[in-house]
Amino acid sequence: MMIIAGGVAILPSCSGDPGKASIALKNLPVTADQETLLAAVAETIIPKNDMPGARDMNLHLFTLKMVDDCSDAAEQQVFMAGLDSIDQFSRQKYNNAFVQCSDTQKATLLDDIAGGRQDNKQLTTMINITKRRVIQGFMNSKYVMTDLKKYELVPGRYNGYFPVKTS
C-alpha cells in the first residue's frame, strides 16, 4: 500500500503499531497522536472549503516526510519539541487540547504562535517549518498544479513581451 501525500506516494510504516505514525520515518519519533495533532495544524493552515484541504492532500504527512529527510538533527529536535508543546499552549489559552479547539480558536492559536505572541521559540520555529512545508506541498500538489492548471510541463512557447492584464 502507498499513501498519496500531495500527489506523491509515501511508504506506509511497517510496524502496523497503532501508537506509531502511519508512514515510515527514519529520524522523527512521531506517535499516532502527534500525527493527528499535526494534521489538525496543517488543516488549520490550509482548510477544506470548496477545494480540498491539507488533510485531504495528506500535507501533514508530506511535512513529516520533508522534516524527516531534509532537516538536520537540530531542526528535527526543535520540530519535535515544538510539536510537544502545542497542547500546553492551547490549554493555557483555551483550556483545551489543540484538536479539541474550535476552528477559530485553532487559527488564533497559530496566528499567536507565528506572530511571536508567546515565549516558546521552539514552538514558533516548529509552526513556521510546518507552515512552509504545508504551503510547499499545497502549491506543488496535483490539485493545484494539474486541476487548477498552475503548472505546465510542456509550455511549447516563449513570449518575452506578454502583456499584463489590467483589471
Partner: protein, 571 residues
C-alpha cells in the same frame, strides 16, 4: 549495433577506438563511423538510451518524493556534487556521487562528473558560442601559456559543420569578438533584457547584450528530423533528458546517428585503464579496458585512438599509460602532461530590481535563459591591470508573489491569486583564467580506485588575476545596472572552489612545439601520432566562451584529418 561476442583478437580489433561518449566522444564516433571506420566507443558508465532511459523526464513536480529537494543524508554523503546547481532529485541519477569515485583534492576542487553513455552532454547548460581570433591569439598577444597552433579560419568551417547538425539557436549579431554561426532562429530577449541591451548599446560603446546562443531546436531542419529530434518545447527540464530531442546531447543525436551507419560498437561499463603503446611499432595499438562490473581486463586494438574521456579523466588515462618509451605517461616527453590546467571563473554574481516595463511579463519559458554579454575587457587591446576578461549571463524575470501570512481560507486565496512582483535582473560572470604550470593534476602514488587505477590528485587554484577580474566584473556590472536605473543592486562574491564551473580544461595542451606542448594542430600527440585528444584536455587557453561547441568542432575536424591520414596510409 554489433555485440561483442568472441574473444579473438580479430573480434577486438577496430579501425578506431573512442574513449568516452560525452559531447566530444559522441562527435568523434559520429564522424569516424560516417567515414566508414569500424569504431569502438567505450564508456565507463551504464548505457543511457535516448528517451527510454530518462526515468524522470515526464514527471510532474509533485511526483518527486521531496519536490526536487535533495535529502540531507545524500548531501552529507556527497558534498561535492551537492554543490552543483543541477544536482536535484530529477537528475541526480546522471551525476557521480562523491563516494562512488573518490579523488584527491590537494587543493579544494569540486570535480563534477557524469559517468554514463552521453556523459555530461545530458546535463550541460547548452550555451554555445564560437571563439574568435581575439581568443585564439590571446596567449601569444598577452604572453602566457603557448601560442595556439590554430586560428579561427582553421576551425570556422567545422563550427558550421557541427552547428548545422546539432542545431544552434542564435541571432546574427555581427560582432567581431563573437562570430556568427549557422544559426536556427534565436530566442528573443524579454522586455527588460531588451531594455538593458538598448541602454548599454547607447551608453557603453563596445559592450553588447545578445540573445544567448544555445543548442536548442528553435526551428528544426530536415537534418534534425532525420535524427528523430523535434522542436524544443520550452520545458527547460533538459537535465532530465529531453523526450523531444529538443536540445543537443550525444544520446539524442550523435550516438544514434553513428549507430545507424552500422559501424559503431558501443561498449558501456568499460573503464579505460590505459592506452597501449607498442615500442617496436612506435605507435599506440589499442587500449586496456577493465569491465566496470566484472573487473575483467580486456585489450582492444585499433589504428587510431581518440581520447575523449572528459578533460581531467583524459589526463588521468594518459598519465596512467606508461611504457618503456613513455615512463611518465603517453606522449609526455617534456613533463608537461597534467600541467597548465585552467577553468572558468564563475565566482561572482549580481542582482537588482527594475521598476519599469510593468506592462509586460513573460509567458512560457526561454530555454537558453536570456541574454549573453560577450567579453568586452581587453578584447582589442590591453586596457586593465588584469589579463583577459569575462563574459557574463544576463537575464530578467518577473515572478508572482503571494502573501504567505496568516492561515486558513484567506491564506489559500492569497496563494492561488498571487500578484506580479517587480522585474528582477541577474548576471553571473564567466572569466578566463590563465593556465599555469602550478595548476596541475597528477596520479596519487598510493590511492587507487575500485578498478586498481590510481586516483587523480588535483591542485588547481585561483590567482590574483582572477580576483582583480572578479572585482572589475562587479564594479562594471554595478555601474551599468545603476546607469540603467536598476535599484537594490546586490553584488555577490560566490566563493566557490574551482571545478564547480564544470569548465575544467587543459593538461594536454595544443601547441606548435613538442618541447612546450603535448598536441599538434591536428590534436595528435606530438610523440604518438595515432592518439588524438579533442576534449577539454587539449585547451591551450580557456577564453570565456562555454567550451562544448569548440570541442565538437575540434572532434569533427580531427576525425576528418585522422580519416584522411589513414586513407593515405600515414597512420
Amino acid at each position: 549495433m554489433p555485440e561483442i561476442t568472441g574473444d579473438s583478437i580479430k573480434d577486438r580489433t577496430f579501425d578506431a577506438i573512442v574513449i568516452g561518449s560525452g559531447i566530444s566522444g559522441g562527435w568523434s564516433a559520429k564522424e569516424l563511423t560516417e567515414r566508414g571506420l569500424k569504431t569502438l566507443l567505450l564508456e565507463r558508465g551504464r548505457n543511457v538510451e535516448h528517451i527510454k532511459d530518462y526515468p524522470t523526464t515526464n514527471m510532474m513536480p509533485y511526483e518527486f518524493e521531496h519536490r526536487g529537494e535533495m535529502p540531507l543524508a545524500i548531501q552529507k554523503a556527497a558534498p561535492v556534487v551537492s554543490r552543483c546547481y543541477a544536482f536535484r532529485e530529477d537528475a541526480m541519477h546522471f551525476f557521480v556521487k562523491d563516494n562512488e569515485h573518490p579523488y584527491v583534492q590537494e587543493k579544494p576542487f569540486d570535480w563534477i562528473r557524469g559517468y554514463q553513455v552521453g556523459g555530461k552532454s545530458l546535463l550541460w547548460a547548452r550555451q554555445t558560442q564560437r571563439w574568435s581570433d581575439y581568443d585564439f591569439e590571446g596567449p601569444a598577444r598577452d604572453g602566457f601559456a603557448v601560442d595556439w597552433p590554430i586560428r579561427y579560419k582553421d576551425i570556422a568551417p567545422w563550427y558550421s559543420h557541427v552547428e548545422k547538425f546539432a542545431g544552434i539557436s542564435g541571432n546574427r549579431d555581427g560582432l567581431k569578438e563573437l562570430p556568427d554561426g549557422d544559426f536556427l532562429p534565436g530566442y528573443p530577449l524579454n522586455a527588460v533584457e531588451d531594455y538593458f541591451r538598448e541602454h548599454v548599446h547607447q551608453k557603453y560603446p563596445g559592450r553588447h547584450i545578445v540573445s544567448a546562443r544555445g543548442a536548442h531546436l528553435s526551428r528544426p531542419q530536415p537534418i534534425h528530423f532525420q535524427q528523430g529530434r523535434g522542436q524544443c518545447q520550452n520545458r527547460v527540464l533538459c537535465q532530465r533528458g529531453c523526450p523531444f530531442g529538443g536540445y543537443f546531447s550525444s544520446n539524442a543525436s550523435t550516438i544514434p546517428w553513428a549507430a545507424k551507419t552500422g559501424n559503431l560498437t558501443l561498449r558501456p561499463f568499460s573503464v579505460v585503464h590505459s592506452v597501449i603503446y607498442d615500442e617496436k611499432k612506435g605507435r599506440a595499438t589499442g587500449v586496456k579496458v577493465i569491465d566496470a562490473n566484472t573487473r575483467k581486463e580486456t585489450e582492444y586494438y585499433a589504428k587510431v585512438i581518440f581520447v575523449n574521456a572528459s578533460a581531467l579523466n583524459t589526463n588521468l588515462i594518459l598519465l596512467n599509460s606508461v611504457s618503456g618509451r613513455f615512463p611518465n605517461g603517453l606522449g609526455n616527453d617534456n613533463g608537461l602532461l597534467g600541467k597548465y590546467v585552467a577553468f572558468h571563473n564563475y565566482s561572482a554574481t549580481i542582482s537588482a530590481v527594475y521598476n519599469g516595463m510593468k506592462q509586460y511579463r513573460t509567458d512560457g519559458r526561454n530555454p537558453v535563459g536570456g541574454g549573453y554579454i560577450p567579453r568586452f575587457r581587453n578584447v582589442f587591446r590591453q586596457e586593465t591591470d588584469f589579463l583577459r576578461g569575462y563574459a557574463a549571463g544576463f537575464s530578467a524575470h518577473r515572478s508572482e508573489i503571494a502573501d504567505h501570512s496568516g492561515t486558513g481560507v484567506a491564506l489559500k486565496e492569497h496563494l492561488l491569486n498571487p500578484s506580479l512582483g517587480e522585474w528582477r535582473v541577474g548576471s553571473h560572470m564567466m572569466g578566463e583564467t590563465i593556465p599555469k604550470e602550478t595548476n596541475h593534476v597528477s596520479l596519487d602514488k598510493e590511492k587507487k580506485d575500485d578498478w586498481g587505477i590510481p586516483q587523480l590528485k588535483i591542485a588547481v587554484v585561483y590567482d590574483d588575476n582572477d580576483e582583480k577580474m572578479r572585482q572589475d566584473y562587479l564594479d562594471q556590472m554595478a555601474e551599468m545596472f545603476g546607469s540603467a536605473g536598476f535599484t537594490d543592486i546586490r553584488p555577490a562574491r560566490a566563493d566557490k572552489a574551482p571545478g564547480l564551473d564544470i569548465h575544467e580544461m587543459g593538461g594536454v595542451r595544443m601547441g606548435h612545439d613538442p618541447k612546450t606542448s603535448l598536441l599538434n594542430k591536428w590534436h595528435q600527440l606530438h610523440a604518438c601520432k595515432n592518439v588524438f585528444v579533442t576534449d577539454g584536455a587539449c585547451m591551450t587557453s580557456t577564453s570565456t566562451q562555454n567550451p562544448s561547441l569548440t570541442y565538437m568542432a575540434f572532434s569533427a575536424r580531427a576525425a576528418d584529418y585522422a580519416f584522411g591520414e589513414l586513407r593515405k596510409g600515414d597512420l
